[in-house]
Amino acid sequence: MIGTIVQIISIIFIMIGALLSCVSAIGLIRLPDVYTRAHAAGKSSTLGVMFMMFGVFLYFLARDHHFEPTLLLAILFIFTTGPIGSHLIMRSAYYSGTKYTDSTVRDDLKDVK
């Protein structure tokens, strides 16, 4: 009984994660700029994959009574390194002179560069 409930919760987690991945891909297609695209890909994709990993973790825990600590470690690792990677790419893109979109109103880093 409790196994079935946890399994249904894990399925809900997996579906939310898959929908967040689709939202990330739509943002990556439709947004006009490198920086806004990295905003979409760095946050939404990371959160979607974390949701899916936690869903798979709950699924194995509920059905096989098998605790898989590697999935929790992978969730922690993605949560740490996903935004760092996005930040590094955007920093190097700004310093190598990538243009932003025309509707940008201010650029605070212009003097520092």
Partner: protein, 99 residues
């Protein structure tokens, strides 16, 4: 058995997301677009491996996810450093920073 249908639906959604990211990797106007797309592609691939390990009813694929996470982060960091400085491992003993 009905859980398999939902796992397959999630797999189809993730593969559509990977197609969208692949469009950005191919078409992307600048180099940073392609690097962002490849990073997101690696992360989606990790999700796909997790879903396949549920679908194939095995737990031996889980360590591949951790391996892919480390490799994707290393590749992204190396490429960001290459884009900014022109070299990845620098032999500069005086620790000059000129970009």
């Amino acid at each position: 058995m009905d859980m398999d249908i939902i796992i397959i639906i999630a797999l189809i959604l993730v593969s559509f997301a990977m197609l969208g990211i692949l469009y950005r990797v191919i078409k992307g106007p600048t180099l940073a677009d392609r690097v962002v797309g490849l990073d997101a592609l690696g992360i989606s691939l990790m999700a796909m491996i997790a879903l396949f390990s549920v679908l194939l009813n095995t737990k031996y694929f889980i360590s591949i996810i951790m391996l892919l996470a480390v490799l994707a982060f290393l590749g992204t960091t190396a490429f960001a450093k290459f884009m900014q400085k022109g070299e990845i491992v620098e032999y500069d003993r005086n620790n000059r920073t000129d970009h």
